[in-house]
Symmetry: C2
Subunit: 418 residues, 2 copies
């Protein structure tokens, strides 16, 4: 099975690109058409690596717009948590499918997810064709019985994943945060990860309150606490990482931990501004994510790139901070490295996770600089075609089954909020 994309713009040059199986086989000015290949006319389109969403809670799309503009604590306790308690594997399945459709439409081919009812997400991703890291979640709330139960669930989910694996899905470990997961569970997760060579993803220092609480409880800041319990290492990535001091950044840099920033959610919830420059300076790999849609409220990484670059420019009062090409790399190659994927670049041998962007869209006129236009002017809705793992998931803006998924997900959402 092969796909030949003809006359597409790659870094300002027109080229052909051949996909064989799930890899990019060849990139050259004129590639002879293999027999039986699917042909895609790439004229008036530019090719980019599919975008990678480094931090989200996909099924929360069912709660988009359900509660906004509220104080954080009230938002969580009165709105989000009560609804989440009603979620089932079935609602997570339909929610994740709707999120997948939105990601495919806006040019995202990988997402790193942390949510309950993992098997619902597994089914959705298996069907929808994306690459994903899906976490076995632990939130023991410092309850020993709950901790035992959740660890057993994680072990069980991992065993199931080993047997019935979809090779687009990576099993990761998702302790929620230091303020919801006991030290014993965090230590167990670190060991389990080492034993099975798994990635770990968790929330870190999203709010100042977390830091204050950690200081009060453990006498040290969050990163120092994690260092003390032997949690840190190159398999660990964090969502947010806003409220870090220099010493914490130095520790993360030394340990090879990564941070995934989520500017829209951080701004919308009034959490704070991620220090992009200081984090990069400490040698910490930086990825980009949208967070869940109840705190964003969409999954469009094109928009997120603009927010990330502009937030850092205004934070530092420096218009040269985080140029367009750098934030594009963050949302593609950097995220791919953090999540150990052989994607995020348009190169021979890489995974065929690719998107075609419509250069005839007004956002790309007059067209002085494609990367600037993509980051500062375009949206995900200018993506025409999305290919993941060598399969076409959207062609000329058509996603098979989209309307049924939209309707079923809305139905599920109605049950939850009724």
């Amino acid at each position: 099975m092969s796909i030949l994309i003809q006359n597409v713009l790659l870094a300002d040059q027109s080229t052909d690109l051949l996909i064989e199986g799930n890899r990019i086989a060849r990139i050259a000015p004129e590639i002879p058409e293999p027999s039986g290949a699917t042909l895609i006319d790439g004229s008036h389109q530019a090719i980019l690596p599919g975008l990678h969403n480094g931090h989200t809670h996909a099924a929360m799309v069912l709660l988009r717009g359900y509660a906004d503009d509220m104080p954080l604590h009230q938002w969580l306790t009165e709105k989000i948590w009560p609804i989440e308690a009603k979620m089932t594997e079935e609602s997570v399945y339909w929610g994740t499918k709707l999120a997948c459709v939105e990601m495919i439409r806006t040019g995202t081919t990988f997402f790193n997810d942390m949510y309950w009812h993992r098997q619902g997400s597994v089914r959705a991703v298996t069907e929808m064709g994306l690459h994903a890291s899906l976490a076995g979640v632990v939130i023991d709330l410092f309850d020993k019985a709950k901790a035992r139960e959740q660890r057993a669930e994680v072990e069980n989910a991992f065993a199931v994943a080993q047997e019935n694996s979809c090779d687009r899905i990576q099993f990761t470990l998702g302790p929620h945060a230091i303020y919801t997961v006991s030290e014993a569970s965090l230590r167990w997760i670190a060991e389990f990860a080492t034993q099975h060579d798994l990635l770990i993803h968790t929330h870190l220092s999203e709010t100042q309150k977390e830091v204050d609480d950690c200081l009060a409880q453990h006498g040290v800041r969050p990163v120092e606490y994690l260092e003390r319990i032997g949690f840190l290492g190159s398999r660990v990535s964090f969502g947010h990482g806003i409220w870090l001091d220099e010493r914490e950044r130095a520790i993360l840099g030394e340990r090879g931990c990564a941070i995934v920033t989520n500017p829209c959610a951080n701004m919308k919830l009034g959490s704070g501004m991620f220090a992009f420059a200081d984090t990069a300076k400490a040698g910490i790999p930086i990825g980009l994510g949208t967070d869940g849609t109840s705190s964003n409220n969409n999954l469009d990484l094109f928009e997120e790139m603009k927010f990330a670059a502009l937030l850092e420019k205004v934070r530092t009062m420096d218009p040269t901070a985080v140029p367009a090409a750098e934030i594009l790399r963050t949302a593609t190659a950097e995220n791919a490295k953090i999540f150990r994927l052989d994607s995020g670049v348009v190169e021979e041998g890489a995974l065929a996770d690719l998107i075609l962007v419509n250069l005839r869209a007004l956002a790309y006129a007059p067209g002085h600089n494609f990367v600037s236009d993509a980051v500062y002017s375009g949206t995900g809705y200018h993506v025409n075609t999305t290919i993941c793992d060598g399969k076409i998931l959207m062609r000329d803006r058509e996603i098979p089954g989209e309307e049924e998924i939209r309707v079923k997900a809305i139905e599920c959402s109605g049950f939850l909020t009724a």
Copy 2:
């Protein structure tokens, strides 16, 4: 000539809406079809007032992406100004037409513009069907001969506008800023405005440097300087207004001046963060604008609303700051009041400047809260239909002549940057 929109969602209720001439004639659950009326099926769509762009330089769309991520001074002197010097009425005409197409597509029905070669903009807006305030620009650079020449040009342009007026276009006065326009010209503009009852729009305190320079030159801050020369009054609105102190805000509040904020441009150029809450508290009307596309880089006010709300939330660390409905009002009714337009609301008797938003777009699923979805999740590219002054400018995403305009504008842009 009438238009009947049937079964459209208005504030969560399905309704019909009848347009007669350029006004909304009736809003009711079931309106009988007038003979000869154009029918629009509003099912699965929500109706909003067309968005109002309170501060832009439309023709600069020709420079979108031409120079980004550069230090402000170098950006202006090496890139923007040399190209602007080559602009002609013809390039401004095609640039403004391209900008109009982008605004129509993203749901904007009014824009407040400040740019050279005003007659080029007048021709474009006359043809494209939008409402606009187009400024007679003064940038005398403290040169007396240039000042005389530009004042004569403004008088002449005003006389021409009185004779060949398009009633969708308002003549306004656009002194660029206190650091580019002499006191004599500012005084002359204030008098000319009073004499002919015209609005004035100018840039104010976009950067800290402006304030420092004003203090050095005049011994007072910018608003105090403008107060001293008798420039302030309810006909004056300002773009930006970032670097104001309490006393300046109090003066603007007393004088009835308005401020139009441009969050994307302020963030992208690293200028600073507009103090939304403090400005509102001082009783200053606040509008919203995109600024020009070389510092944004698009004209999508849906995106701008999200930036404005999220920037204020993170600036104040308060997730309840500027809720969705408030920023939507800023981009509609508030801007309409500032620019003395009888629009910005969906009410009987108001101008028929209206947009229909596609509720089947993924950004609006599951649909818990339309206004939240529009501000935090949607983009202008989810607008299906744009009506201005009682005429349909875009129907089902079709804008007559769009492709020709796009191609001609790209050609013009090529001449400028060759």
